[in-house]
């Protein structure tokens, strides 16, 4: 009986720890915190949060649609957990012939970086619907402790719809 109770309690403890480690708050709550500033931008459903350790990179891909303006920001849930840098890029697939064989080359083309934007969010618009990648790299902080990072994508209809 005692052993069964102990096993159940231990299992619950392990489950609680694994659940708390596995999940991060939403990207919106990480990036915006409790501030509720209202403007024309709304939260895009493709915003994501995930956990990374120092030296690691968290990457996500989202679809940026023609006719929409986007605002992208990234923050750590724990500001003292290290420093993050992020870049927005797209992958270009080129086809070429090498020794009679069709060869595909993927090239990463960086469109913008947080270094250019400073602490400000990156605002962009696109002339056509495109697949965009965001890579967030964490440096400094505790090397072993994972940190939650949020990538907030906001959108609004462009003034010029283009339609």
């Amino acid at each position: 009986m005692y052993l069964t109770m102990k096993t159940i309690l231990l299992t619950c403890l392990v489950l609680l720890v694994s659940i708390s480690n596995a999940q991060c708050p939403t990207a919106e709550s990480i990036v915006k915190g409790k501030t509720k500033t209202k403007d024309a931008y709304g939260v895009n459903s493709q915003s994501r949060a995930g956990s990374i350790k120092s030296g690691e990179t968290y990457e996500m891909s989202f679809i940026a649609q023609e006719g929409m303006d986007y605002r992208l920001s990234s923050k750590l849930a724990n500001a003292a957990g290290g420093t993050i840098e992020f870049e927005i890029y797209e992958l270009i697939v080129e086809k070429k012939m090498v020794d009679g064989k069709e060869t595909y080359k993927r090239t990463k083309h960086v469109l913008a970086t947080s270094a250019q934007a400073g602490s400000d969010p990156i605002e962009f618009t696109t002339d056509k619907t495109r697949k965009v990648f965001v890579a967030v790299t964490l440096s400094g902080g505790d090397l072993k402790k994972p940190q939650c990072v949020g990538i907030l994508v906001e959108d609004k209809k462009s003034t010029k719809l283009g339609f």
């Binding site: 994501r48 989202f62 929409m68 797209e90 595909y104 469109l111 696109t126 339609f163």
Partner: protein
């Protein structure tokens, strides 16, 4: 939440099928040229919600066609968790379509079915008293209902991640995407008569690619594996489009970046008709209750 590894090899093989004369044996990835890519990166692939996909549809050269939406009464007939998750996605797209055309009279009926299926797949928490009351309060206010639909979708997505129901989430996305495609194609005035809509349908190729990547982590579920194959077959059809590519340029206009250039694809009549046929076949399977 599981993430997908880069699986572009699969997509490249799909690309290679374009033209019909290539063989898979001739295709190789130029690894040396790919040194600037983080090969071990885990990427979280995302797709826009149906509301985001329909945000601009009413401004396009389309016909509003609510008669092709799924029958709300069918929601009570689904018995399995998979059917419920798939059709939750279907009704999410229907609700987004309704509000994008300011058609609010059927909103509460569809929202009620979303709530029913949502409760069944374990996201009852999303539909607290508040959401139901808001839906009633805003009945007739298309903009508010549009935001409410998007919020419902986002909260459901987040909740399914929290309770680790990745299979249900995947099926919800599949159902939502096929219904969105069905509604877009069904809103066309006919090939060549709705060029703006055709462009939007062509853009769905990118959404299909990201959806396929999202599903990779859940392929141990036979049903998800099956729908992954269906999406792959649709991507093959997309390869019938006429595509051209130019260098992507970034311009800074008063702090806002403007991305121009890149790949541009135009719909062809064959591709349009093949897509229509394939999407309808898969959608019929999704909404069936057997």
């Amino acid at each position: 939440m599981r993430k997908s590894l880069y699986l572009f090899t699969g997509l490249l093989l799909l690309l290679s099928s374009c033209g019909g004369t290539d063989t898979k044996n001739d295709i190789v990835l130029d690894e040396k040229e790919e040194s600037n890519l983080n090969q071990d990166a885990l990427v979280n692939f995302n797709i826009p919600s149906p509301s985001e996909q329909f945000a601009l549809i009413a401004k396009m050269d389309v016909v509003k066609n609510t008669s092709i939406m799924h029958d709300p009464e069918m929601a009570d007939r689904y018995t399995t968790s998979s059917q419920k998750a798939l059709n939750f996605g279907v009704y999410t797209a229907d609700v987004a379509y309704l509000t994008s055309f300011n058609e609010t009279n059927k909103y509460l009926t569809y929202f009620g079915k979303l709530e029913k299926l949502g409760n069944d797949i374990g996201v009852a928490q999303v539909f607290g008293k508040q959401l139901g009351e808001l839906a009633k309060k805003w009945d007739g206010n298309a903009d508010s209902l549009f935001r409410l639909s998007d919020e419902t979708y986002n909260k459901t997505f987040q909740r399914l991640i929290e309770i680790e129901k990745g299979d249900e989430l995947s099926l919800m996305l599949v159902g939502g995407w096929f219904e969105s495609m069905h509604l877009m194609i069904g809103s066309s005035k006919g090939y060549g008569k709705s060029p703006k809509l055709e462009k939007a349908i062509a853009d769905q190729k990118l959404v299909a690619e990201n959806l396929l990547e999202f599903l990779v982590s859940y392929k141990d579920n036979a049903e998800i594996e099956n729908y992954s194959k269906e999406i792959s077959s649709i991507l093959k059809i997309y390869n019938e489009m006429d595509c051209s590519s130019s260098e992507t340029k970034v311009e800074n206009a008063n702090g806002k970046l403007n991305f121009t250039g890149g790949e541009e694809c135009n719909m062809t009549e064959k591709c349009f008709n093949d897509l229509k046929k394939r999407v309808e076949a898969v959608r019929t399977k999704i909404i069936a209750n057997n």
